[in-house]
Subunit: 483 residues, 2 copies
């Protein structure tokens, strides 16, 4: 979902009354970022509080490439990483993930091996339908074992766009919350629904209800579901004791627009890019009784901060044996403080850009290759900023492109290299970057090797269901990451 998909962030048809209400009762973060312009690395960063380049969720197969966890990926979240639920356990939390895990689908990466107590959802994107010969359909797990597969047991009608998955995920959430409230145990719920990812779907009740097509229907259903979750917390009397944060794992995928893709509002480009449209995301905090309604924060925030802030809320300290990139947002939330901190925009292990205050410097620019672009793959449809949305990888490390995001949120007007402002700001930014680089210890890259033999042929539990499939012979290869 993109920054511009919510009414409160500026979607022209304003179809998200529940999220808008959540903001009215809570706190809107206007400068909130993912740690990566696509799914897996962003989620790995959220759960580890660390940049993908540290936790291993990146590739070195080629320069500055986005990589994720399709079902032929060999890697996943390393055992050495400490995930938020692992740490929260120490404070007695019960942890559940509902929806897409995306940190690896092989047994050693299973979410219940990494701190979660319960899981309902799938390890990968709901791509398909597949024929179960060249590719198996993606499994859906309940806890340790699969209980079915997408398209087979969990229907998605690609013709009509109908699927009731968000309703199923919603009910799972409500049930879990009720159970936890009844047992008086603290809980962490990671509600990682996938409805706005292609292929986009919505349940029957929402189909055709949006001015925005099927994508809008999906947004409306998510909006409605968030409203129901908040209402449920209130009904159970635990809303003042529950910290709720809504955000997205990357900007809207403009390549799928307009039928299946959303809006990044006034920002440049979308998912897969390190322009604002790829990494600035909607972010709303709801915590009645602790913050008054209608607050707006200009704190630079990151999904990685949810790691550190959650630990802080649980009275825990972040690990001290490794670099943590997330900061504790509580001073910004409770006291309105503005914490000075940079935002780094990575593609693979290349730092493409950095934001310091209102300024953003691009050290590298790239949207995608000419080859892809000429085939119709466009991450910036209708947008073309000369020398900025480049189709060759442009090295600006000696003279970064500098933008003032306050005056120019769309990254359209680079500051003049000759200006005093450029000199002054770049001096400051270079210092920040130097510090960042000096302490950077990249993790072992996890997203380099792919093998069709390790796809979801025979996930645990497949025997009971008679849904085990025969994998092909092992054939590990370098994954191909085109952008």
């Amino acid at each position: 979902m993109g920054w511009g998909d919510l009414g409160v962030f500026g979607e022209p048809s304003k179809e998200t009354p529940n999220l808008d209400q959540m903001a009215a009762e809570g706190m809107l973060f206007l400068d909130f970022y993912t740690a990566n312009p696509l799914c897996s690395p962003s989620r790995a960063a959220l759960l580890t509080g660390r940049l993908p380049v540290r936790n291993g969720f990146y590739t070195t197969n080629a320069h500055a490439r986005n990589a994720y966890t399709p079902q032929d990926i060999a890697g996943g979240i390393p055992d050495s990483e400490l995930l938020l639920p692992e740490l929260l356990k120490k404070a007695g939390y019960i942890n559940k993930i509902i929806g897409k895990w995306h940190l690896g689908h092989r047994p050693q990466f299973h979410p219940l091996r990494h701190g979660f107590d319960e899981w309902f959802g799938s390890p990968n994107c709901h791509f398909g339908p597949f024929d179960n010969r060249a590719f198996p359909n993606i499994p859906v797990y309940r806890d340790w074992e699969m209980i079915g597969r997408y398209y087979e047991d969990f229907k998605i009608d690609l013709k009509t766009g109908e699927a009731n998955l968000t309703q199923i995920y919603l009910q799972e959430a409500l049930d879990f919350i009720s159970k936890q409230q009844a047992s008086q145990q603290p809980f962490f719920l990671y509600w990682a629904i996938d409805a706005t990812h292609t292929p986009v779907y919505a349940s029957k009740h929402f189909l055709g209800t949006s001015q925005r097509g099927l994508y809008g229907d999906a947004v409306r259903e998510i909006d409605d579901s968030v409203g129901k979750i908040l209402e449920h917390l209130q009904k159970l009397g635990i809303s003042e004791n529950t910290f709720v944060f809504f955000t997205s794992d990357n900007g809207a995928a403009l390549i799928s627009a307009p039928q299946q893709g959303g809006s990044n509002g006034p920002f440049l480009c979308g998912k897969q890019t390190t322009f604002e449209g790829g990494m600035r995301t909607p972010a709303i905090l709801w915590w009645p009784g602790h913050i008054p309604g209608g607050w707006v924060s200009h704190q630079l925030g990151s999904v990685m901060d949810l790691f550190t802030t959650s630990l802080s809320l649980a009275g825990l300290q972040p690990p001290t044996d490794r670099q943590i990139d997330g900061i504790d947002l509580l001073p910004a939330i409770l006291q309105g403080k503005l914490i000075d901190r940079p935002i780094f925009y990575y593609r693979g292990n290349e730092m493409m850009a950095v934001r310091v205050g209102l300024y953003k410097a691009h050290y590298w620019t790239w949207s995608n290759s000419w080859e892809e672009y000429n085939q119709g793959v466009d991450f910036c449809p209708g947008q073309n900023v000369s020398g900025v949305t480049t189709h060759t990888q442009e090295d600006h490390t000696t003279l970064p492109l500098l933008f003032h995001l306050g005056m120019d949120p769309g990254e359209k007007y680079p500051l003049s290299f000759a200006s005093a402002e450029y000199q002054r700001v770049m001096q400051q930014i270079h210092f920040v970057v130097q510090q960042h680089r000096a302490t950077m210890v990249p993790g072992e890259p996890q997203l380099n090797v792919c093998d069709k033999a390790i796809m979801n042929w025979s996930p645990p539990g497949c025997e009971k269901l008679g849904k085990c499939l025969t994998p092909p012979k092992p054939d590990p290869k370098k994954c191909f990451w085109p952008h």
Copy 2:
């Protein structure tokens, strides 16, 4: 000011708390349009309820050109046009215009000859400073006579951007409202401030307060002023008896961005174009006691509707001897009805595009000429939709470019000509256009002739001030309208 300049419409830094509050207490129009992508024709349409092509505020000097009223323009609002204040007089209203008139500066076009009882402001844009030899500085009038000139008596510091004009205009408004409330006379106040027009200015208190530069400072001052006007109405106890509407006369001028120009949010291009960024504008109605807060309307609206709606509020009928394009919005406002009506997008006397429901068809496309564009004049910076933001005038009348604005507010994905949807929708739109053309009687074009001799050399009242200047010899010529 542009659609995207207000927090409630999606400006990323959300710096308009008063306008946002106005929307929260009132009604937000999401699909509201000017009648023209630039100033004079838009204002003429607002005050007459008629498209510029009917009321004469257009040019035929070249095809599909934008024209306005610089100080060498010979034309202005024809006597034959009935302006809103002229009509409101019949219901006992006292009418005041504060700010820019822009319907002609020669004596016959004076606002007090066209229904206004009071005027404080100027007839043209606050361009300058001029040397009073090649060009005179623009006069500022109080009622019938000038009381000074911009830059001479009403300072604008172009270096710092400081000018206290918005404060002066605000005080005028507050005083007028107080006076009217005291005398118990109904009033119409046309508060037509000019602070976000280049050269952009703000008063000292607001300078440097925005993340968005000088333009943002001006927006903040306007926002603050609107808040003060609404507060004043409440203090005087007349808020429930006063219909307040906030809108803009065109989209933000992107040519002046980022230093002096604003944001059109997710829309394509800006002022001067018939893309959404040029003509969709912020629109907020405030009318406590009559509409509950927080309403959002998807009614297609136009500045021309303010004419008809205002008459309706005053218990008056619109003129029946001429075509009126504005509709009465009260059913949409009070009963939430959706009135089916098209929106026409003109440039000169050419209908460039039409919106019917969620669909918009471009019959002609043009941003500006290659010649201008190559000189750096860009109405769509960073945006380029192939075949849409064209630099030659493209005739699509036989096969219009069709967009679904719900799914694609940015006009980036034209529908396939071969699709059933295209066929079905265009049939409907062609019918609407046919009807429109069948009843179209263009007015005599007023914006064809320019003459330096008729500039503001010696406005009425100049003698008393010793500010009369000697005009050059009359030399009427066709005005040159490059875009």
